[in-house]
């Protein structure tokens, strides 16, 4: 017996409230970032804040439409939607337009959209669909490899569009895989490798070898001391040694000088505030000059006067940091943590495996954006141009994140029905 739900029945108002709060806060900050005394109307359609307002309106319409679609639609047509997404990504490579080096825009009439943003939604759907197959053997490595390929395919296509940042975001699915049974060492390796890579460049390699060797010996002595365990330990040790040597070799002999420079700036080996480090340096200045309480709304100078590049899109967090200070920035970070935690808790309460998987995908994708974007503005991550969800200027990313989130909200509202 199927009950009919209204659009807003059983939906999770905490998520909706956090969503609206972030979107509205983003709009305020876009206004501040491109604030121009000669065009003070916050509704000026010619300016970015005016456009963003239109896009927010469209996003809310999109959200309502999503909430009125039968949730089964997404499970039924996940493969089809995925295939459509892949098709569009391929299309973009051929007919897309170049905007600042990346061929990732598709123009439909006067509207330009970025299919890569929507590819996250389609991939999340298909991953949930595939991994929730009742007959799937999650013990088997091949299942995970297949799932991985579903993620790698769109990521590769996006890489072909020279949009490295958006491609990198697909790493988020590792967290989903991990939660649902992937071997934990893969997660450990993916976290450990960048750390090891940075250490390889900063620390003398023999000291590093020594430390790793000592760690391996301790690990082996404390474990069951089986022969198999010894072999694995030695293999991992050899692998890390090889990795360290190859990182060193690649950076110092294969990379172009400007790439090497970027890496050196990032790991703090050299500083280059006018060149490779310009963006990050200006970003730190803007955020740092906000101090505890900030300079006040619309009183930021660094972002308003364009010292920070891309201040309404990828570097929107600088505007927050400068004008709202430590207090405002911290509250924003906490809002994100609240949203992410809420999504995970809601995902955990799903009866349907598809919904749970999908929920984790949403949380992981949002987390990846949050971590890379804010990490970048705080000088903790390399400069990777991806938007801050719900805050950054741009229709495609706002709509894609809205869609991503509201499909989940819709699934959750039907959690009693879906199994």
């Amino acid at each position: 017996m199927r009950r009919e739900y209204g659009i807003f029945q059983h939906i999770d108002w905490v998520i909706i409230a956090l969503y609206l709060l972030l979107v509205f806060f983003g709009w305020l900050n876009i206004y501040a970032a491109v604030y121009d005394e000669s065009q003070p109307s916050i509704f000026a359609v010619g300016m970015r804040y005016g456009k963003q307002l239109i896009w927010i309106g469209a996003a809310i319409v999109l959200a309502i439409i999503t909430l009125s679609i039968d949730p089964k639609f997404f499970t039924q047509f996940a493969w089809l939607i995925y295939a459509g997404g892949i098709l569009v990504l391929v299309l973009v490579i051929f007919i897309g337009r170049d905007i600042s080096g990346a061929r990732s825009w598709l123009h439909i009439g006067s509207i330009a959209i970025q299919p890569a943003e929507f590819a996250k939604v389609t991939t999340a759907l298909v991953v949930a669909k595939y991994l929730s197959k009742p007959d799937l053997n999650l013990k088997s490595g091949t299942s995970w490899i297949k799932a991985g390929l579903l993620v790698i395919l769109p990521a590769l296509l996006i890489l072909l569009q020279h949009d490295t940042g958006s491609a990198l975001v697909f790493l988020a699915f590792i967290l989903v895989f991990y939660r649902f049974g992937m071997n934990r060492y893969i997660l450990v390796a993916i976290i450990a490798l960048p750390v090891l890579g940075i250490l390889a460049l900063l620390v003398n390699r023999y000291i590093l070898f020594g430390i790793l060797l000592a760690a391996a010996v301790i690990f082996y002595l404390r474990s069951s001391r089986k022969f198999r365990r010894l072999m694995i330990t030695l293999a991992i040790l050899a692998g890390t040694f090889a990795f360290i040597l190859s990182v060193d070799f690649v950076v110092n002999h294969i990379l172009q000088p400007h790439q090497r420079q970027r890496i050196n700036v990032l790991i703090g080996k050299t500083s280059d505030p006018k060149g490779a480090g310009y963006n990050v340096n200006q970003s730190l200045i803007a955020i740092g000059s906000g101090q505890i309480l900030g300079k006040g709304y619309l009183h930021g100078t660094q972002t308003k006067y364009n010292f920070v590049p891309e201040q309404s899109t990828d570097f929107i967090f600088c505007t927050v940091g400068e004008e709202w200070g430590f207090l405002g920035s911290m509250i924003l970070v906490l809002l994100y943590l609240l949203l992410l935690t809420r999504i995970i808790l809601v995902a955990e309460r799903q009866r349907s495996k598809f919904s749970r998987l999908y929920g984790y995908s949403v949380a992981s994708l949002l987390f990846m954006h949050f971590a890379i974007n804010i990490g970048m503005t705080l000088g903790l991550m390399p400069v990777i141009g991806i938007p801050l969800p719900f805050l950054s200027y741009g229709g495609s990313s706002l709509w894609a994140f809205t869609l991503l989130l509201f499909i989940f909200v819709r699934q959750d509202a039907y959690r009693q029905e879906l199994v």
């Binding site: 999650l138 308003k304 006067y305 364009n306 940091g321 987390f367």
Partner: protein, 606 residues
């Protein structure tokens, strides 16, 4: 079986919360702990723009404007903003060739694309007028007002001085000045720099990443206003100054006139002079090197304060006064003059024909050398032949009290002190007790080691006119308002000779003009008291020297005139002084042919 992995949600939540915590800690470091970011932010955005106040004006004693600020305009360019435009018209307006236009634009580009640089400096008002209407056509160009000093009377260059950019050493010493600031370099511009310059203001503007102006910082809350410089009222009479420069043309020398009762300098002529407008604006560097290169006339040299001469006979009134004070002379003291004063070694200090024996007043009237040699010998041997040094020091003390041998301390820079030799000097030269009255007898008639400046001579005339005191001469009588001199310039400096001894000297000086050595200086209806001097010097012909004051009672002008290498004091200096006195007291010249004669005398290109 899925339950096995349920605990992994805590790991994932842990990763998320840990990331958030790292961000918050990082934010805390950036925004609360570290201070450098707020500084960097200010460096990025704030530009401190100096507001230059208008420099004070300078008036003469009758309120005529001697120095004012003329508007001039610098054409500035911001290369990045330059758009396609009518270059031909632009070049025509600025009177430059298209090649020059390209070259200058290239230079500006090399300096900075975003920062303004000077494209054409100091465009005058007329050219600016034509330009202004069309400026809207030339994107990237704008005009920036500046001021130039201007001198409508083309006179008194030495006294007024000039301004120029502050030198690095000045900037090091005085934090007020920044590179590019103007500062007074000589004359009144230098000595009254602090009053004239006013107080600079500061505007804080904000700029964007392209250095474009984005308005004032915090609505101008931290801006400071500039305070305009104070106007100065000079004691100079510009008509007298102009006449003096006219009379002195083609001659080397100077004229200094003082109002005795106030110490106000009425004119300060140094010849050869130059037009102060030459040292202004774009032409300044060129003209400055031309003036510096003129090593014969040295026009930049202010003779009135910096040239030192032996005063010759003009010094005799000093010895007449000291002699009375020391009790070796009375008005009726008479010395016979056999046509010279024998020095005992076969040499003779010569004298000229005059009746004799003369009394004190007559000795001044006829300028008898013998009389003063004898008088000076009496002064130095008052306490016996072997007490020369002590008596010499007494004499020297009297002379110093009259403003000689030291800087008088007027309100202009670069004054020299001249020289009244000390006993130590002679001790060194002749040995202790190795010199006597006869050894230094030249001092009796203002020759020898004695050196005085024209200013000191005019001050002597002023001192005698006041019968015993002088007020430190000064060229500025009002700062900010017409009459407001400081106490320094009101104090009477009495000399060590009692006022009662002056009358006989004044009488003698009156006779100089009426029936003595300078009858050609006579002015009907106004009694002039004067003394001629003819100074022998190592640089050629004698200097013609004349000091005077008039009228005899309640004198209104004291004056010294020196014409270098012009012969007798009576020949050139006396008539010039007479004309100056006439101009000042009567406001016009009643002897045009004498004026013509003096003006046309060319003593440089003989």
């Amino acid at each position: 079986m899925e339950k096995r992995y349920e605990n992994r949600k805590f790991i994932i939540l842990g990763i998320i919360l840990l990331t958030g915590l790292v961000f918050i800690l990082r934010l805390f470091y950036l925004q609360v702990v570290a201070e450098k970011y707020i500084l960097s932010a200010n460096n990025n955005v704030l530009r401190y723009i100096t507001q230059y106040p208008a420099r004070g004006l300078i008036y003469d004693r009758n309120g005529k404007l001697l120095v004012f600020n003329e508007a001039a305009y610098d054409m500035m360019v911001i290369p990045r903003d330059v758009k396609a435009m009518d270059t031909a018209e632009f070049c025509r307006l600025l009177d430059i060739t298209p090649d020059e236009f390209r070259e200058r634009l290239r230079k500006a580009r090399r300096y900075s694309l975003y920062k303004p640089s000077v494209f054409e400096s100091q465009i005058n008002r007329e050219n600016f007028g034509a330009l202004q209407e069309k400026m809207f056509m030339f994107h990237g160009f704008f005009v920036q007002p500046r001021t130039l000093r201007s001198y409508p009377y083309h006179t008194a260059a030495h006294m007024l001085g000039y301004i120029g950019e502050a030198s690095p050493s000045v900037i090091d010493r005085n934090p007020y000045y920044k590179p590019g600031d103007y500062i007074g370099i000589s004359g009144i511009e230098k000595s009254y720099e602090e009053e004239l310059r006013g107080q600079k203001g500061m505007k804080i503007r904000m700029v964007d990443v392209h250095n474009r102006d984005m308005g004032s910082f915090e609505g101008g809350r931290y801006d400071t206003l500039s305070l305009p410089g104070k106007d100065l009222w000079s004691s100079i009479d510009v008509d007298l100054q102009l006449l003096g420069e006219e009379l002195m043309q083609n001659k080397k020398g100077s004229i200094v006139a003082i109002e005795p009762v106030s110490g106000e300098i009425l004119c300060l002529v140094s010849s050869p002079a130059y037009d102060p407008n030459l040292l202004v604006g774009r032409i300044r560097n060129h003209n400055f090197s031309l003036l510096t290169a003129d090593s014969i006339n040295i026009p930049l040299f202010n003779r009135a304060l910096m040239a030192t001469y032996p005063p010759g006979s003009a010094f005799k009134p000093v010895n007449a006064l000291v002699g009375q004070q020391e009790g070796v002379l009375t008005p009726e003291t008479r010395f016979s003059c056999p046509g010279g004063f024998p020095l005992g070694n076969g040499k003779v200090v010569g004298c000229h024909n005059h009746p004799g024996p003369l009394n004190l007043a007559e000795s001044i009237q006829h300028s008898c050398n013998t009389y003063y040699c004898k008088a000076f010998k009496s002064i130095l041997e008052k306490d016996g032949y072997y007490a020369t040094e002590k008596d010499f020091n007494i004499w020297r003390g009297h002379v110093l009290s009259m403003g000689f041998g030291k800087q008088i301390g007027l309100d202009l820079p670069s004054e020299l002190s001249g020289n009244i030799p000390s006993s130590a000097y002679y001790d060194k030269y002749y040995g202790k007790k190795g010199w006597h009255a006869l050894t230094v007898i030249s001092l009796a008639i203002g020759q020898g080691e004695i050196l005085v400046t024209p200013l000191q001579l005019a001050n002597l005339a002023s001192l005698i006119a006041n019968r015993g005191y002088y007020i430190t001469p000064h060229v500025i009588k009002g700062v900010g308002k017409p009459n407001s001199v400081t106490r320094t310039f009101m104090e009477k400096h009495f000399c060590t000779v009692d006022p009662k001894y002056f009358e006989v000297v004044v009488d003698g000086m009156e006779q100089v003009v009426l029936a003595g050595t300078a009858t050609n200086a006579r002015l009907d209806s106004i009694p002039i008291c004067a003394k001629t001097g003819t100074a022998q010097n190592p640089h050629g012909d004698n200097h013609s020297i004349f000091i005077a004051f008039a009228p005899k009672e309640h004198p209104r002008i004291a004056i010294s005139v020196i014409v270098e290498n012009a012969g007798y004091g009576a020949t050139w200096a006396a008539p010039i002084a007479s004309l100056m006195i006439e101009q000042y007291l009567k406001g016009k010249i009643g002897r045009p042919e004498l004026k013509e004669h003096m003006m046309n005398g060319n003593l440089i290109h003989r």
